[in-house]
């Protein structure tokens, strides 16, 4: 029953995502070993039929008993703090983010121009829109978004990252308008901040409670606004490429940057976004070609993927 309902909702997604979902793992989302395992959120086993309006039972984890739950995972943050000096070294630890940037921005440009009805032939199509970049790090994503015309707020839980981001953005008059804050998505929710589009790229795999985190992203998005999330798939292939290759063989990333068990599959991400009132409209994969050293967009979401969703009108 639940799976039928799910499938009917997923039909509204693009073909490519739809095609991907027809796999046994997904049709049977209650498989406990898939969802409990080492997941850090405890609400998963009680998965109710997907409901656009999040039901209050979801997420009765201990953290929620305090007034605001925290998405912070201290061990993860310490890793980023340790290498914060290297954000803008295109050959340093963040090389994959630099290399991926044009590709993911091409996805953002095309989906959000359509979403907001903007002219794709305009140099600054996002003029007049307020964007939030959650987990902005050194500002690798915030700066291009600002160059594309958006009024950008960038937040990160690591103060050192925010300092680096501020210094770097100040170098260019166009990016110096970015508002960088050392805070979390939850705190902004508490402050009742709202944005036309909210981004969390390569962040969700580092947070303590992905489902709660998505709810915060949703709460920060205006009705009919857009949310964009990218992350690494929890697949054997992702394990091989992202962790073994990137961390151990190519030494792109410091060892221990990623904890495989905390990755989400595209199916899981769609689900938790859906329960946070964000309906995923499009998913694309990033594929790395080791021969050309370039990333390109593809319908292969086996390793790295990006999802864009629309905030459901409440």
């Amino acid at each position: 029953m639940a799976s039928k309902l799910l499938l009917s909702q997923l039909r509204t997604l693009t073909n490519l995502t739809y095609r991907r979902f027809i796999n046994p793992e997904f049709i049977c989302p209650l498989r406990p070993e898939l969802l409990i395992g080492s997941r850090t959120y405890s609400d998963a086993p009680h998965l109710p039929p997907v409901d656009p309006v999040p039901s209050p039972i979801i997420g009765d984890n201990p953290l929620r008993k305090t007034k605001i739950s925290s998405s912070l995972n201290q061990a993860e943050l310490a890793k980023f703090s340790a290498i914060s000096e290297t954000w803008w070294d295109a050959e340093g630890p963040f090389k994959p983010l630099h290399a991926m940037n044009p590709t993911r921005l091409a996805f953002i440009r095309s989906t959000l121009c359509r979403h907001f009805g903007k002219d794709p032939y305009c140099a600054k199509p996002f003029e007049g829109l307020k964007f939030l970049d959650v987990g902005c790090g050194g500002g690798i994503l915030s700066e291009p978004l600002a160059r594309m015309g958006a009024t950008v707020t960038g937040v990160d839980a690591v103060d050192k990252n925010i300092k680096i981001a501020r210094l770097h953005a100040d170098l260019d008059p166009v990016t110096s308008s970015i508002d960088y804050l050392c805070t979390t998505a939850e705190k902004l929710v508490e402050e009742k901040r709202k944005f036309d589009a909210v981004f969390a790229l390569e962040v969700i795999e580092h947070v303590a409670d992905p489902a709660e985190f998505c709810k915060s992203l949703s709460a920060l998005t205006v009705s009919n606004g857009a949310t964009v999330v990218s992350t690494i798939n929890r697949s054997i292939r992702a394990y091989a490429t992202a962790i073994v290759a990137a961390e151990y063989i190519l030494h792109w990333l410091p060892k221990g940057t990623h904890d495989w068990s905390s990755f989400l599959t595209p199916e899981e991400l769609v689900l938790i976004l859906q329960r946070a009132s964000i309906s995923v409209q499009e998913i694309a994969g990033f594929v790395y070609n080791p021969l050309t050293g370039k990333w390109f967009l593809s319908d292969d979401i086996g390793v790295n993927f990006i999802a864009y969703g629309a905030k459901i009108d409440e």
């Binding site: 070294d89 940037n101 044009p102 291009p144 600002a146």
Partner: protein
Amino acid sequence: MNRVIFKVLRPIRKYGLRTFSAATSDLLNASHNHSATTGILEKTNSTDNVPQYDVAIVGGGMVGVALACSLATMPLTKHLNVALIDSNPALMAGGSIKKEDPPDPRVSTVTPATISFFKGMGAWKYIQLHRHAFFDRMQVWDYTGLGYTRYSAGDVDKEVLGCVVENKVLHRALLSCMEESNMQKTIYPARLSALDLSFSLKSDNVSSQPHANVAKLNLSNGDILYAKLVVGSDGSKSHVRELAGIKTTGWKYPQNAIICTVEHAVENRCAWQRFLRSGPIALLPIGDNFSNIVWTMDPKQAAECRSMDEADFLKAVNEALDYGHGPHPQSETKGGGGLFSWLKLDTTPSANEPFEVPPRITKLASERMVFPLSLMHANSYVSKRVALIGDAAHTVHPLAGQGVNMGFGDASSLSRVISEGVAVGSDIGEISLLRRYESERKAANIAMMAVLDGFQKAYSVDFGPLNVLRAAAFHGANYISPLKKNIISYASGEQGIPLFS
């Protein structure tokens, strides 16, 4: 409409400059002593009055101006703030070209690819106002009399094979196109004297390298400007290339080219090229009863040819294009057997056209100019905040008329890459973005250079028996239709990989 700003020395800028050179004295001292003698000092610590540009184009030759035009006419780049730096008075003249003047000897054979690039920018309409000559046939032969090849536009389903245009007409058309655009542009009538590529605005407490976010340019007139991207379109002796530390590979040919305009009694619609023992001679139509001559020979002969009187020179040219140095090749016997008859099924229509003799030259219509020949290629086309285009990146033998076409290909590619960068909010001086331009153009240019160098080597030396092979190659080119189509479409800039693709 016309938003070009001409930068003639403005006192305000000088104050800014003085202040700045006081701050970073050793870097700047070398280049503008004259401003130091003005003795005006104003106390500010900011860099606010130094103008900042998105793109600084150093060298406003045909290729540099083509880049400016291309940026001005693409939707995602037309908002960019562009500086064009060149002391060449032609940039400021804004004047017109008189049609009565005899054609200038400096001409270019523009390919169909270049023509569509110009049309796309709206620059071709200005060419149409001036003298230009389309040609639809080409005849290539040599002094041995063993072979000849005729190409015609029909072979590749085209109306024309190319168009010969004076360089000053190309330049003027591009300038008009740029002036007509709404792009914010500033022309600096000066030369680049120094370049700082690891410069960082507000760099007080940041270690410089990863944060270097602009290039700083010092000009010969004392002006200073910042730019996110510096484009070196300053010709074969590029100063930008040198200042960016980019090395070159190349060699000089032991040959010079003599060029001039000549007149004949009838109109010419064909490009002629004959390989002589000493090097090739080309006769290109340039409109009305004029043609252009590019004749390659050893430097001593070239000097003689330049100084001999007109009558002797015309006699030498007419001999070189007709009976001198060897017999005419035999026209192919129609449908006859012959060495290559087995290929007959595949022949192109012009293969059966008889050999023709070029029009007889009656008058010298310009001065004679002599140029040394060389081949040079920059080891890289880009470095952080720098991109080289045109002759700054590569120079080739003028024989095939490809030099400026390769440069226009660079300008077109670089502007497209910049546009792609703007689309995704990149810093347009980022090396990873610029590498896309380099990888696109380097492959194309090297392939073209290899073909031209091979041509040069094969035809400039008299290899004795090898001439027979050469003649066979001519026959081959004439008869093997697909190969011939490839040669033509490659020479007309439509194909990435030469020959057997």
